[in-house]
Amino acid sequence: MNASGPSSASRSIVALNALPVIVLQALFFIAPLVITVALSFQETRSFMLDWTWSLKTWTDVFSRGYYWTIMLRTLIMAALTVALCILIGFPVAYVLATRLKRWENHITILIVFAFLTDNVLKIFGWVLFLDRSGVANAVLHWIGLPSLPGWALFSPQATLLGMVYNYLCFTIFTIYLSVSMIDRDVIRAAYDCGAGKFRTFWEVTLPLSRNGIMAGGVLVFVLSLGSFLESKVLGGGKSPMAAELIRQTFETRINWPLGSALTVVVMVIAIVTILLFLRLIDLRKKDAP
C-alpha cells in the first residue's frame, strides 16, 4: 500500500482507482477534442456537414478580419477581468487568511454560497438591479443622486461587471490558499527588522503569494475566454465575444467546421497560456535554492 515499489497486488489497486476517470475523460473529453479538430478540416454543403478533408474553413478563418476583431475583444475583456479580479480579490483573500479568525467561517460560507449559486439567476439579478427602472436608480433617487449613466446596462462595461462578478471567487480562493501558507515568522522577522506594515506587505507578503495570484489569474483568464451569458444578457448581445460567435456558427448558421475551427483557436490560446504559466512556475522552482 505504500508509495514506493508497486507490487502486483497494488498495481491492480492503482488500476481500480485510476481507470474510471481515465475511461470517463477519454470517452467524453479527449474524444470530443479530437473530433473537434477533425471537424475543423471538413466542408459544408448547403448547411450539411460534408466529410471531405479540406483547408477551406481555416483559410476562411485566417483571412476574415471579423473573427479576429471578436477574438481580440475577447482577449482584452479576459485580461481586464483578470486584472480586476486580482486587484479586488487580493485584499479580500488577505483579510480572510490573516485576520477575522472569528468570522472566517461565516464569511467563507457566504462567499462560497454566492459562488455556487446559479450564474443565470445572478446575471438576471444584475439586469433587474441596473435596469433604468431598476433598484439601483430607485436607491440613487431616494438619496438624491442622479441616475446611472446610459452605459450601465447592455454595454461592454456591464459585460465586464458580470465577468468580474462570476470569476472573482477563483482569485479569492487561490490567493487565500497561498497567503495562509506563508510562515508567520517570516513576517514577524520583517517587523523586527524595522519594516512598516506596507513595506512588509510589498517586500514579503506580496512576493510570497505570487503563485496564488498567478494561478488565480490563469484560471480566470482561461475561464473568461468562454464567457457567453455575460455578453449576451448584460452586454445586450451588441458586442459578441468568442463563445457567443461559436454558438451562433452552429445554432443559426449551422456551419460546424467553422464553429470547430473557432473553438480550436480559443483552445490553443487557453493551452498556451497554461503552458506558459507552468513554465514560469518551473523556472521559479529552479531559481530557488
Binding site: A3, Q25, F29, V92, F124, L128, I274
Partner: protein, 273 residues
C-alpha cells in the same frame, strides 16, 4: 505616529474590501429576493406592495415542477458519479507512483481548465457524431454525462487535498493487524477521508444544480431550473422567475449550512480520535 497611521489605513482598506465584496456578491441575489415579493406583474421599481402570490403561483405551475424534477435527477446522479470517480482518481494521484502519472494528472484535471461553454460545445459535437452512428437523442442522460466530465476534477482535487494530509502509517498499522485491502479501505481510509468526500458531494451537487452552460447545450429539449429561467428572461418575465430564484437560493443555502455543520463535526471527531 506614522506606524499607527499606517496600520489604521491598512485596516480600513482590508475590512472595507471584505464588506464591499460581500455587498457586491449579494446585490443581484438580494435584488431577486426583493422582486419575488413584489405586487404587480412588472419587474421594475417602484414597489407598491408586498405579496406571496408569486410563490403560490410557482407551486401551481406544472412546467416548473418538471424542471425542478429534472434538476434534482441531474444533480443527484452527477454528484454521486463524479464523487465516486473522483475518489478513485484522488487516491491514485496522492498514493501511488506509476508510469504515465503526469499524463494521468493532465487528463484528470483537464476539463477544469477548459472554458465551460467550449467544453459543452465539443461534447455536443461528439454526441452528434455518436448519435449518427448509434442513434440516440440528447436528453437528461447526456446532460448528466456532461456534468460528470466537468465536476469530476473538482471532486478529485477536494478529496486529494484531504488524502494528502493523511498519515499512511495508520493504514499500515491496520494491515499489520491482519486487515485485508478492502477492510483497510472500508474501515480506515474511508472514515478518515469522509470530510473531504462530504465537501466533494456538496460542491458537485450545488455546481450541477446551478449549471447552465452544459445543460443548455446537452439536454436536448429537456429543461432544468437554470435553463428554464434563461428562457423566461428572454420572454419578458413576471416576478415568478425571481420567486423561483429565491426558492433555489433557499435550498442551496440550507444544503451548504447543513453540509458545513456535518463537515465540522466530522473534522472535530477526527481530531479527538
Amino acid at each position: 505616529m506614522l506606524d499607527k497611521l499606517e496600520s489604521r489605513a491598512a485596516s480600513i482598506i482590508l475590512y472595507g474590501s471584505i464588506i464591499a465584496s460581500l455587498i457586491f456578491f449579494y446585490v443581484p441575489i438580494v435584488t431577486l429576493v426583493v422582486f419575488s415579493l413584489k405586487e404587480g406583474r412588472y419587474l421594475s421599481m417602484p414597489i407598491e406592495g408586498w405579496t406571496f402570490d408569486w410563490y403560490r403561483e410557482l407551486f401551481n405551475n406544472r412546467d416548473i415542477g418538471a424542471a425542478l424534477q429534472n434538476s434534482a435527477i441531474v444533480a443527484t446522479s452527477a454528484m454521486l458519479a463524479s464523487t465516486l470517480i473522483g475518489l478513485g482518481a484522488a487516491l491514485a494521484w496522492v498514493r501511488y507512483r506509476f508510469r504515465g502519472k503526469t499524463l494521468f494528472q493532465a487528463i484528470a484535471i483537464g476539463p477544469l481548465l477548459f472554458p465551460q461553454l467550449l467544453l459543452a460545445v465539443i461534447i455536443l459535437f461528439w454526441f452528434t457524431v455518436l448519435s449518427s452512428w448509434l442513434g440516440f437523442s440528447n436528453g437528461i442522460p447526456t446532460a448528466i454525462i456532461g456534468h460528470v466530465v466537468y465536476l469530476t476534477p473538482f471532486a478529485t482535487i477536494i478529496i486529494a487535498v484531504q488524502a494528502a494530509g493523511l498519515d499512511p502509517t495508520i493504514e499500515q498499522a491496520a494491515q499489520d493487524c491482519g486487515a485485508n485491502n478492502w477492510q483497510v479501505f472500508y474501515e480506515v481510509t474511508l472514515p478518515l477521508l469522509w470530510p473531504g468526500i462530504f465537501s466533494a458531494l456538496t460542491f458537485s451537487f450545488l455546481l450541477s444544480w446551478g449549471n447552465f452552460y452544459l445543460t443548455y447545450s446537452l439536454a436536448g429539449g429537456e429543461r432544468t431550473l437554470p435553463t428554464f429561467v434563461f428562457s423566461g428572461i428572454a420572454m419578458g418575465s413576471t416576478p415568478i422567475y425571481p420567486a423561483l430564484a429565491s426558492v433555489t437560493f433557499a435550498i442551496g443555502l440550507c444544503l451548504l449550512v447543513v453540509a458545513d455543520m456535518i463537515r465540522r463535526r466530522a473534522a472535530a471527531r477526527l481530531k479527538m480520535g
